[in-house]
Amino acid sequence: MVTAAKLNYEERLAKLRERKLEHTRAKQKEGPWDNDDHGRIPAPPDFHFKPTPNHPSGGFFGAKSVGANFRALLESHPPYVDPYSSLAGGYMVYFFQMREPHWNPDLDWSPQLHEAQQRYGIIHGIGGGQHFAPDLRLGLRLGFGGMLNKVRHYRELNKDNPDCDPGFYDGLEDIVLGTQNWIQRTADHARQMAAGEADPELKANLLAMADMNDYLVYGVPRTFREACQWIVWYQMICRIFNGSGALDQLDEVLRPYYERDTAAGILDDEEAIFHLACLNLNDPQYSQIGGVGPDGRDLTSRVSYLILEATHRLKIPANVAVRVHENMDPAFLRTAVRYLLEDKNGSPIFMGDRGLVNGFMRNGYSLELARQRVKVGCHWCAIPGREYTLNDVVKINFACVFDVALREMMADPSVEPSTAELWERFKKHMRLGIEAVAEGEKFHLEHMWEVFPELPLDLTCHGPIEKGRDATHGSLEFYNMCVDGTALATVADSFAAIEQRVENEKKLTWQELMRHLDNDWEGAEDVRQMMRSIQRYGSGGSRGDYWAVRISQMFAETVKDVEKGYWFKLIPGLFSWAQTILFGKMVGATPNGRKAYTPINHGANPDPGPTGATSPTALAMAIASVQPGYGNTAPLQMEVDPGLARDEDGVLAMEALIKTHERMGGTQMNLNVLNREKILEAHEDPSKYPDLVVRVTGFSAYFASLSREFRQLVVDRLLTSGL
């Protein structure tokens, strides 16, 4: 194998990091980006692409049109090669942003469903892309040549099959052909660059990339480097297509290549780390490392360590998740915690195996299958290539449900207001809301294939090519549709505040409360503070905790009950993503002292309350207690004192916290080690720290790339965390 092994990897990484910073600065000038960092490279000003519509609305819908447009985009996409990287390629645009209109206007859902979605603050997910996972190993076994052959084989086999979508194979073929064209042009570009390169080592590296990519147009990856390069291509087409892509159980995906190459003496750890760093530089996609194999064995391998090491050395946003379990390699957890505290970029994330596996099995799945469901998204898991989920796309706002219930009760002259009555009505409306969620998902599953099918992901799933139908159209084995609840603390504290101040202490009447809510606490700051200063969710054993657990359980039970009326499963989780602002704007003042249209609480986290900080152990216990318990997460989001990184005591304490939360059934831990002064300075002048990384929620991003509103979210969390 031709390698550039003589080059100093550290120096090359430094060059690559510099280049990444240049790109990040340029992107920051384009405007805020409230999302994962992605690895997009700014496009040259003369690069433009406009899709060809096939509908009077100006949109392009259906597999054939989507595939043809995507192929045209890839065929015009400029090649990109960095001579210091070991992997060629870079992407510059998002195809999904060209979906205009986003949905085919001929396909509308009922006015009643529209109305229910609005009333209950539902983000319905209709038309939402991706949010399930490719089986990378399937793709690596086929290569792009094998994919093309497979598509053509099944096209022939299914040519008279009435169950197949007629344009589906056209779309798939175009995806592969467009990708192959892009790879070939990039290989050619690397060769041209090599011809003009004076430095012999860089020249050799460029030629190696040219040769490797010539081969990968059709060939099946054979080595560790080729596997990484193939993954780069596949991830890029997924990311461009609809923002998707995920790196699966990455240590296990790459382990065979690593073992083969190291045994053959053509790869050492330093080179492997460099390739992994280049893979992460191309795009910090979600991946899981460590964990338990289907047979119960600990999956930690040398590759798991190398992946951690690569992100540690890079110090850019990263989305690697370590799966924590009872019998894991203790040294691996120790290393992960140490890097978390040292790097201060919120990486890695920690996943709780017990809660995820036992929960998922409660849906009727086997232990073996539950162990294959890996963390591949912001706060979510999926079985690569076999499960469709729309995870993180569908949400219901508990605060809206609560508001409807409260106002309905107060408008009913036949009842005496009480928390008991309010609870019954809250339950009733929760059910109506979840039914509306399920109806929306049903509609999505009926029509998404004819609007914007999941073509690149179909290529690495089991079923779509064989059956001639898109993943959204019933060709996968499992359909476990997401329903995430939001505003848990807002509502739990509202119940607790009413119970304490109105019912028990009689400090104000129900009517007075309603007047304050309607006036947004105008002239009643003391009453607002009184409603805030109660025994909140998160203090441990409080009434707020009681209500939070009760709401979460009722939500989960209702979801599973509503599920009975559908052919797919519904899995409850608790997560707001970074949409606490959006959800807050949906609802007026709430009895927990929240002002109208201000943000709701984050994810499953308690609200900080007037005195701020909840201790990490209290937080960990609170969030473990509200897990909906069916294998989707209710993440723990914690701002961690950077002082913990000072000595080994901090590492050990953090490790114990993570282990205990896992043992209690916690499913995900997003731990942000924030430097208070730096964050506050960067909030005022983002250009000061263009490369400061924070974990906004399940995703990690450059702080300076975020909008002011999103930065404020991070700052508010920091200020109320007691750090």
Binding site: D526, Q529, D649, A653
Partner: protein, 299 residues
């Protein structure tokens, strides 16, 4: 049994091994001018006022039977001298501008709170630490909490300056797994200047303690102008090196995080002009202390 505490802090990780809950007890027999827990010095509750949180609702004016609170000419007036520390005003102050530092609680109430983190103690090898104030000011109460912890399999640690009758200290130590021993100065006169008391009884207690075979960690708050010279730290290190059972010596840099508490208590902060020692200075003092053959850590 009841006693006075300031609060219980969960997830303490610098007050003994593992994840701990630290119970801050009221009452201290020393009056170190740099103390960062001034609200814990007196045994009885103290009224704290945070003006930045005050929303001017006037509920405290109505609640107080002694006229401590008033709004005169639009200005918030606080007459601390009238305060009986009953806490009635704090109960109506929902904005938490007024709080009472210190409350009387039972051993069971303390246990109820510290029990919450039992799982974390088990995983991390942690437990409960009594701090303050000084736990030896309420020896029976401290002893009862520690014994209750032991009865539930929770490890115990006590942070003390050992400035008390040996009998009281011995009672507390009988249920203690690890002692964090505050050492300020070896010179009795300078010790008195800095803390208000001489160190003779303290040193005698420490010597007796070291003969018990109980593990202990001497900890020195390094305060500019008080004990931050190589000679002064060296003298402490020599003393520690002569004791058996000391695990290691910890040097803790002075900080000013307690300044806001002085303001809230209406007290003068006499350490306001002191600067925190630099990392380099702390390391040089640690190097000096290591010359006496002991393990030294900088906190």
């Amino acid at each position: 049994m009841d006693g006075y505490i300031v609060n219980i802090q969960r997830f303490s990780i610098h007050d003994g091994p593992g994840i701990r809950s630290t119970v801050f007890l009221k009452g201290c027999s020393l009056h170190c001018f740099w103390c960062h827990n001034p609200e814990s010095i007196g045994l009885k509750p103290d009224l704290q006022f945070y003006p930045e949180r005050c929303i001017g609702c006037g509920r405290c004016v109505e609640a107080c039977p002694n006229g401590v609170h008033a709004i005169e000419d639009g200005r918030r007036v606080l007459r601390r001298e009238r305060c009986q520390r009953c806490g009635l005003c704090t109960e109506t102050c929902y904005a938490q501008a007024l709080t009472l530092a210190g409350r009387r609680v039972s051993v069971e109430e303390v246990m109820e709170e510290v029990r919450k983190d039992s799982e974390f103690y088990r995983t991390s090898g942690g437990g409960v630490t009594l701090s303050g104030g000084d736990p030896c000011v309420q020896p029976e109460f401290s002893h009862a909490i520690l014994a209750a912890c032991h009865a539930e399999g929770i490890g115990t640690c006590v942070e003390t300056a050992a400035n008390c009758r040996w009998e009281d200290l011995a009672m507390v130590l009988s249920e203690t797994d690890l002692v964090l021993l505050d050492v300020k100065h070896m010179d009795p006169i300078k010790h008195r200047e800095a803390t208000g008391v001489s160190n003779e009884r303290i040193q005698a207690n420490i010597r007796r303690l070291s003969e018990l075979g109980l593990p202990f960690v001497p900890r020195v708050p390094v305060v500019p102008g008080v004990n931050d010279s190589p000679e002064e730290i060296g003298a402490i290190a020599r003393f520690v090196a002569g004791l058996s059972g000391a695990q290691h010596l910890v040097l803790l840099p002075f900080h000013r995080l307690g300044e806001g508490k002085y303001r809230s208590l209406g007290l003068e902060y006499r350490a306001s002009t002191l600067a925190a020692p630099t990392r380099e200075h702390m390391e040089s003092l640690a190097a000096e202390a290591r010359r006496y053959g002991i393990e030294v850590r900088v906190g």
